[in-house]
């Protein structure tokens, strides 16, 4: 077993840069969420009109700023501290509050913070598992390196899982019909007239090409389902993150949706930071006795089984974003059919 941890593989020297990188991304997300909520028009602007206590948090700028300061503090401390879970957990709780508060006043979940949030959660889980292996990050540089390397791996696992979730949703909700290039053409057509003129040309060309739509459809699925290949080492990770960044650039160009946090996380995980932090993180990881490793593995399997079972068996109603539902046409009996386009009245473009 010792061989599994004795050498931190190619991830070891990177964990310090990754943790700091995630910390920076988390801070930016807090700024963006607070700033956008304060400047955007809201469906509910009065404390008492907002749905629930959480909605009240987001209609009041002082409470928004207080939450933001707390989240920033947690994110900065997570980036600095080599031990402890409080700051990371604190960030997740505050962002959960903020996410729901913003959703309550806007009517839909507006943040795309799940990428770095998942990475942070993975990092915390990795630290817990490292404790079960007997490592104490405060005891020695080797145990710190072991703890953080394992935590980093868990962070990448959960980060990549967000893409797998997206692919599973596509195949689950849309089925094989999602793979039809015409589906992608319709998705982009809905955004053709939204963007600036130079994107109008690009989007129109894309919509008129089933081949381009087919490549985008299959490329998206392959990249999303292949995201966990990031766990295989630096070269697969660089390849996958480069592909994901390209996918996000494509989404930005064709749909106008800027997954800034996802791109930032891909850069954090994909760039080889080895030379910048090798000295700080290259300590030899101490071996773990075989019996302790087996026990930790059993613990992981048992905990996962309990959580998975609870999630499936508990009577939970999944929280859906109402804005993300594209309703089919209400074909009301007797309603007039949509009229054909008039011969005159050309669009302004």
């Amino acid at each position: 077993m010792a061989s599994e941890f004795a050498r931190p593989a190619d991830d070891g020297p990177n964990w310090l840069a990754w943790r700091r990188g995630i910390s920076v991304v988390l801070c930016i997300d807090v700024f963006a969420t607070i700033a956008l909520t304060m400047v955007q028009s809201r469906r509910h602007t009065q404390w008492l009109d907002a749905p629930g206590v959480l909605g009240g948090l987001a209609v009041s700028n002082p409470s928004l700023i207080a939450l933001g300061v707390l989240a920033l503090l947690c994110a900065v401390q997570f980036g600095r501290a080599s031990a402890g879970y409080v700051w990371g957990l604190g960030y997740l709780v505050v962002l959960w509050l903020l996410d729901h508060a913003v959703a309550a006043v806007h009517g839909g979940f507006g943040t795309f913070g799940c990428f770095a949030g998942s990475a942070l959660l993975g990092w915390l889980v990795g630290r817990v598992v490292a404790r079960s292996l007997g490592w104490d990050s405060r005891r020695s540089a080797g145990e710190l390196a072991g703890t953080e390397s394992l935590a980093a791996r868990c962070a990448i696992a959960l980060f990549s899982a967000t893409y797998v979730c997206a692919a599973v949703s596509k195949l689950g909700d849309g089925g094989l019909a999602w793979l039809d290039p015409d589906n992608m053409r319709l998705i982009v057509q809905g955004r053709v007239e939204d963007g600036p003129d130079f994107l109008y040309t690009l989007r129109t060309a894309f919509v008129s090409s089933p081949l381009a739509a087919g490549v985008a459809t299959w490329g998206t699925l392959v990249l999303e389902l292949g995201a966990p290949l990031m766990l295989l080492g630096k070269r697969p990770r660089a390849l996958v993150t480069a592909g994901l960044v390209a996918m996000h650039v494509g989404i930005l160009a064709l749909l106008g949706i800027f997954f800034a946090q996802a791109i930032a996380c891909c850069i954090v995980f994909g760039v080889p930071w080895r030379r910048r932090c090798a000295a700080a993180a290259n300590a030899a990881i101490p071996p773990v006795p075989q019996a302790r490793l087996r026990r930790a593995e059993l613990l992981v399997v048992a905990a996962s089984a309990v959580i998975l079972g609870s999630l499936w068996l508990a009577p939970i109603e999944p929280q859906r974003d109402p804005f993300d539902v594209v309703r089919p046409s209400p074909m009301v009996p007797g309603a007039p059919a949509p009229s054909p386009p008039p011969p005159s009245g050309p669009p302004t473009r």
Binding site: E4, S41, L95, W96, D99, T111, G113, C114, S118, L120, G122, V125, C154, A157, L158, T162, V164, C165, A166, V168, S169, G172, D173, G174, G175, W178, D182, N183, R185, L186, I187, Q189, G190, E193, P210, P228, L231, A296, V300, S304, I307, L308, L311, W312, P318, Q319, R320, D324, V325, V326, R327, S329, P330, A337, P338, S339, P341, P342, P347, T348
Partner: protein, 136 residues
């Protein structure tokens, strides 16, 4: 250990996203997950037939409680809500605007030719002003 741990975390994330939905930091990311048979887009049309983007229009006067025509196909929750919010936040009930139709373009793909086919219907009738021409 690495394989077990990674597999467990991915399984947990998938399950949490499906069972909890949008529950930070989990998310099903199902924004464009459904299979689409049509899509739509709204524009403003003036009396002379010219079409304008909705952000080119302001000073809305669409009555006390404007509602989009439910028989007009292609409803989209987010866009419809955004439009109604815009109408409310940029309202001008002084009747100074010109007649303006909120037109919904509905796109479908012809199954034989695979060409994008556009239909349209009027979702709402208002009075409003164009930003450029009115100097606003």
């Amino acid at each position: 250990m690495h394989v077990i741990l990674s597999a467990a975390l991915i399984a947990l994330s998938l399950t949490a996203a499906q069972r909890l939905g949008w529950f930070y930091p989990f998310s099903p990311f199902d924004m464009f997950a459904g299979a689409h048979t049509e899509t739509s887009h709204m524009v403003a049309r003036t009396a002379d037939g010219a079409e304008h983007r909705l952000d080119e229009v302001t000073g809305w006067d669409c009555g006390a409680h404007p509602q989009l025509d439910p028989t007009c196909p292609g409803a989209h929750t987010e866009r419809d809500e955004r439009l109604l919010s815009r109408i409310a936040s940029e309202a001008a009930a002084d009747g100074s605007g010109q007649p303006m139709e909120i037109l919904r373009h509905i796109y479908r793909i012809d199954p034989l030719s695979r060409a994008m086919v556009r239909a349209e219907c009027v979702a709402l009738t208002c009075r409003a002003s164009l930003r450029d021409t009115d100097g606003q």
